[in-house]
Each structure stands twice: as C-alpha cells, then as structure tokens.
Amino acid sequence: MHSLPKRWFQLLARLLPLAAALFATAASAQLSIEITGGGANRLPIAIVPFAGEGAIQPGIVAIVRADLERSGLFRVIDSPQAALQLTEASAVNFPEWRSRTADALVLGSVGVLPDGRFEVRFRVFDVVKQAVLGGVAYTLNRNQVRATAHRISDYIYEKLTGEKGVFSTRIAYVVKRGPRYELQIADADGAGEETALASLEPIISPAWSPDGRRLAYVSFEQKKPVVYVHSLQSGQRQVAANFKGSNSAPAWAPDGSRLAVALSREGGSQIFSVNPDGSGVRRLMSSAGIDTEPVFSPDGQFIYFTSDRGGSPQIYRMPAAGGEAQRVTFEGTYNVSARISPDGKSLAYISRNSGKFQVAKLDLAARQVQILTDSDKDESPSFSPNGRMILLATVLGGRGVLSAVSADGRVKQRLTVSSGDVREPAWGPFVRE
C-alpha cells in the first residue's frame, strides 16, 4: 500500500542536497517563507487546479502547491491545459501523466451546496502503480479556505510520505518593532497572523499548551519577568508565577495539568512545578547553580533542563517528580535551550561552537551530535509536531528572523517579516479535530 511513499521517503532522506534555492512567498502574509535548501530529488507531483475552484478565493490549489513545495519534499509539475476539466471522478490516463514525469497526481473539484457553503472533493493517485491512494470531501464556508487547503495538504503529505503533515498547525513568535513587542500567532506557512498580545515591555518564551488553546509566556510588563497563561480565544490572562524575584521559562506537562517554571524566589534560578492558575507551587530540585529552561519529555516522565552545576551550561535530565539529575550533553562548553522531539528520541538545542551559536541535534540512543545550521546567532529551537522540522530564531543582516531546518539538516527555510525583529518562535501542536 505504502510502497511508493516508503521508497520515495527513503530516497529523499538520502539524497536531498542543499542545492538550488526555491522561492515561495505567500503574498498576503506578513511572514514570508523562503526555502534555502531542498533539491532536485523531490517527489514530482501534479496537482490539477480543482474544477470550479474559481468560486472561492484564495485558490485552494495554489495554497496546497505552496505547502507541499515548502516542505522541500515535493516538486509540483505544471498541468497541461487539457487537464483543467478533470475532476476526482475522471478516468485517469496514467501513461500520459507518467510521460510528464509525475509520480503522483491530485484531482479535485469544488461545488456549491444548497445552503451556500462549498464542498471540495479530491483524490490522490499513485501514477507509477496506477492506483488511487485515497480521497476526501470537505465542507467549508468562505472563511475556511486556507484552513481547508492546509488540511488537503496534510492529507496528500501523509498519503505520500507516510508521516503526518503539519500544514494545519500554527506557530507563535514575538515581533519587536521600535519600542513595541507583539506576541503573534500565524499558520505554519506564516499567513493569517494575529496578535495575541501587544506590549511596550519584552515578551519571551512562549510555550503552547498541549491542546493548542493557551500560551504560557514571560512578560516584563511589571518591570520584572512574570509568567502568564493566556487563553488565545478569549484573550483572558492568568498569572501563573509572580513570586518575589524572577519568574520564567514556562513548560507544559504533556497532559496540560501543570507547568514547570524557573523561579528565583528562594535564591538563584531553580526549577519548580506550578498549576497553570498559579496555585500549588512546588520545588522540584535543589542545586547550587543555575537551573532553567525545563522541558518535559513526551511521556511526561522526565524534565530536560539547562544547568551550570558542572561549571558550564549543559543539558541535564531529571525525573519529572524531582530527584537525581543526569548530565545529557558533554561536547562543548555551552549547550542550552533543549527541546525534545515528539518521538522522544532526540534533543534539539543551542550549542556554542567557536563563538557561533548553532542548532545541534543529539540522538539520545546513539549519543551522536549533529550541527544542523550554518548561521551563528541561533536561539529557541522548537520541533514541528511531526518531528520533521525545527523552527528557530536567528539573526540575518542585523535583523531577527525565523528559520526552519529539517531534523536531518537537509531542508532549510527562512521566514521574514517586512519590518522589525522576529524572535522566540514556538511551533504549536497538532490541531485536534
């Protein structure tokens, strides 16, 4: 069933070179994305504009194309004029598509329902095996076009690669323009940005709740760092930690029931657990040095964190309930800001290598370290929920920009805004339907 996806996926994983740059900008978006890695060995796919899709704007297929190309795994082939009348119900001339070098094909249509809503239907074909891989119909209204297009992209991506797509997920980040800080939420392609919080004082360390409905972050609006939990839909904010001293580095437990935070209320920077409403604060560990940047393992059993207890900042691990810590990183003298992959098998973190701050990945079983980026002021890595990409902040031409690199280091994207500094990105979770 998945012979095509597997074969392609393995091939891509081996061959994707850091070659020709391909530009894909979302015109309406403030964040625009440029793919700086990826290459000739992408899966060739034809996506014929859906019959009748002119009835809604923006065009669904244009968004799907941009999504798939941005992943670095696909090359979208132009469709011939004659194909434009095809729908998901049409008979497919596989040899014809094969001669156009397509390995996969998507056909679809958009219809208007009696209640004024729209229905989009599509099918994904394996051209090589001359088979239907699957098809779906979605009902939508006019303001769900982008969301629906991303769901279609997710479906196609999963059918062809065997892994879940992240086109429907959202990202959070902070934009600084002049004296103004804005915590923004956007689609994973940078479009549809919305401001959740605007402030004249810094905002750092946004962290998504596991259900994707709340953000914990650190705001300096009280002239010191205070941890808030912010419900995105209502805009309601709750103080999660405002103790004497500094309150920072919030991380959600995988079940969303509590936060790990760094507090200095008992001196130094130490890791505590607290309920999202600020109650039930409990110290998890005691050390003489700095302990900060906690993050839970996906199974909730461990907390990875940064500590300078050994003389230089390194990543450590301790049981989530508290207890003995073990050192995890050993190479180099500055390893901070750990994030664990969704499968729990690897860590992404910032490593200083001869003055450059870069994203490193540690395979926890093999204990192999790989430097993934070639920039020099990287910060705040965060995994996409399927583990394939790592979003990060870096500096380019003196300006803060977001960047993304595939977990194998082969595909690179850059996300920039028209003005201002972008920093502190956090990739949100899968959206539950």
Partner: protein, 188 residues
C-alpha cells in the same frame, strides 16, 4: 574664540561661587554650555547680581518625600549601576563603596525598598541570560544583606538581555550591558 570661552567659564564660576550654597551643585550655566552656543552666550558679559536667579530644573522628577538624597548627583546614592566582567558575577572592588552606601541607606531607612535588576549582554539563550542576570542581581542583594540591609527591603530580579542600555553588538556595548541597576520604590 578660546579667550571668550575662558572668560565665560571664569565669570560663570565666579557667579557660582558667589551664589551657590555649599550643598547645591554649581550653576547649571557652566555644565550645560556647549561649544556651539558659546558665541551668543559669550556676549553675556555681565551676569545678574547674585541671588536673583531662580533655579528651574526639569531634569529631575519630583522626589518622593525623604528620598531626595537618592537623586542628588553629589551623593554616591545617585550612582545606581554596577558593572561586571564577562562571565563574572562578583562585585568588583571599585563598586564596593557604592554598594556600602546603599546598604547604609537601607539600614538607616527601614521603610525604604529596593529593586535590583540584573542584566546581561545579548549573546546566547534569552532564558539562560535571564538566569545569569539573576545571579548578578543576587550577588548585590547578598552583599547588601551582609552589610545590614533587611531581606524584605531588597528584591533582586533579572531583565536578562531584554533591556539593553547600549545597543549594538560591540564589546563596548556588551560591557555596558553586563550590569546591575538599583531602583528604589517609586522609581519602577
């Protein structure tokens, strides 16, 4: 030009000597004069008789009652910043008199409350820098308490790399940003 400039300074100094009580700073005309303004001011050869100049000072907010000495530029208490070496968290000897003076003030003013804000340069992780800034703020708090300030008078917090005093990515800017700032209640 130079002669005029000298005579302006001389006359202003004389005026300052004649009019200023010993606990006030010298007349502002001396310190604020810029070379560009010297030509026109230089024509002013005859200052007002002493005692007839009203002092208008827009640079200082109305001091909270009893706290004015904290803002007096002649008092060491108006010095509020302590600078740190790279990767260091210990108060250098040159700043010890400053910390001692603030400890004495806290001892003598039991209701006074202080916020220490630790800062770092921009290199590295924001959260780790926040922890480093905390370490700097804690270092000063510890010294103040050793010198007799009470725990409840002092809060040490960190701004990390988030509120740089000096912009830019130079060694000079970094040095300026590795710093503790002292604020008293009413100033933050």
């Amino acid at each position: 030009m130079r002669a005029i400039w000298m005579s302006v300074i001389a006359s202003a100094l004389l005026a300052g000597c004649a009019s200023s009580p010993p606990d006030e700073q010298p007349a502002a005309t001396v310190e604020d004069r810029t070379p560009g303004a010297a030509g026109s001011s230089g024509a002013q050869t005859k200052p007002l008789p002493s005692g007839q100049v009203a002092r208008v000072d827009l640079t200082q907010p109305k001091p909270a009652a009893g706290y004015s000495v904290l803002k007096d530029p002649k008092s060491i208490l108006s010095k509020r910043s302590v600078y740190f070496e790279l990767d260091s968290f210990s108060i250098k000897d040159e700043f010890k008199p400053l910390v001692e003076a603030h400890a004495k003030y806290l001892r003598e003013n039991a209701t006074a409350k202080m916020l220490i804000q630790g800062n770092t340069d921009e290199r590295g992780s924001r959260e780790y820098n926040l922890a480093l800034g905390q370490k700097r703020a804690d270092a000063m708090k510890r010294m103040l308490i050793l010198l007799g300030a009470k725990e409840e008078q002092v809060e040490s917090v960190s701004l990390g790399e988030e509120k740089p005093k000096a912009q830019g990515s130079t060694d000079e800017a970094y040095a300026e940003n590795r710093r503790d700032d002292i604020l008293y209640a009413g100033e933050y």
